[in-house]
Amino acid sequence: MANPLSNEAEIFNKIKIENIKVDRIVWELINHYLNNDLQKILFIVGDHLDSSEPIPLEDAKKIRNDCIEITKFLKKLKEATRKD
């Protein structure tokens, strides 16, 4: 997990006070793309951890690919939703 932002509590408080909402349509996208890519990573890693086996190169490539796809999606979403 990333280090928590120093002003994280402040940000969450602002979201609460100003009632900042993310449109359902944006959540649809997030759910679809992030969940499916995270799902693949969780499955691959979980299986190898369960059997105490190292992750083969092929699976490592799949994980890297899923991470790249997540990054691309976040970039696209940011460009589509930014205000300034």
């Binding site: 499916n36 499955f43 979980g46 369960d50």
Partner: protein, 136 residues
């Protein structure tokens, strides 16, 4: 060596993500299950016509085809009521109630670990074995 808990049990997996389908197929084959996969709702219906699965793992939101996992759940419960259905979706609030209303045995929220899915499938196996025992 994995314990072959699934010996003699047929699983149908419906997921339009090819990689996820392939992964789940391999995972459950290693545990002794007979596994068929479908990338669309229509493909799942065609497979169900040919052989009755004991368990169906149904992803609800499908980008391919015009049927979703709930449509397939309804189809299974109408035509193969003995099949146990495990639904998977990232939209708990949207689909969980409908899933149970139409007869699903379990509802899992994406993203989930493979251990959570395995636990759910093991529960179905237990139910199936219990039913088989009850029917002699």
């Amino acid at each position: 060596m994995k314990k072959k808990i699934g010996k003699g049990i047929k699983i149908l997996i419906l997921d339009d993500e090819r990689d996820l389908c392939a992964f789940m197929k391999g995972f459950f084959i290693k545990r002794g299950f007979q596994v068929k996969t479908a990338l669309t709702g229509q493909a799942a219906i065609n497979l169900i016509k040919r052989a009755t699965p004991n368990i169906a793992i149904l992803d609800i939101y499908l980008c391919k085809g015009n049927k979703n996992g709930i449509d397939i759940l309804k189809h299974i419960k109408k035509n193969k009521p003995g099949c146990h259905c495990v639904m998977i979706s990232g939209h708990k609030e949207k689909y969980e109630q409908d899933s149970f209303q139409f007869g699903a045995e379990d509802f899992l929220v994406k993203p989930l670990t493979i251990q959570k899915l395995e636990k759910s499938i093991n529960k179905m196996v237990y139910k199936i074995k219990k039913e088989e025992g009850a029917h002699g």
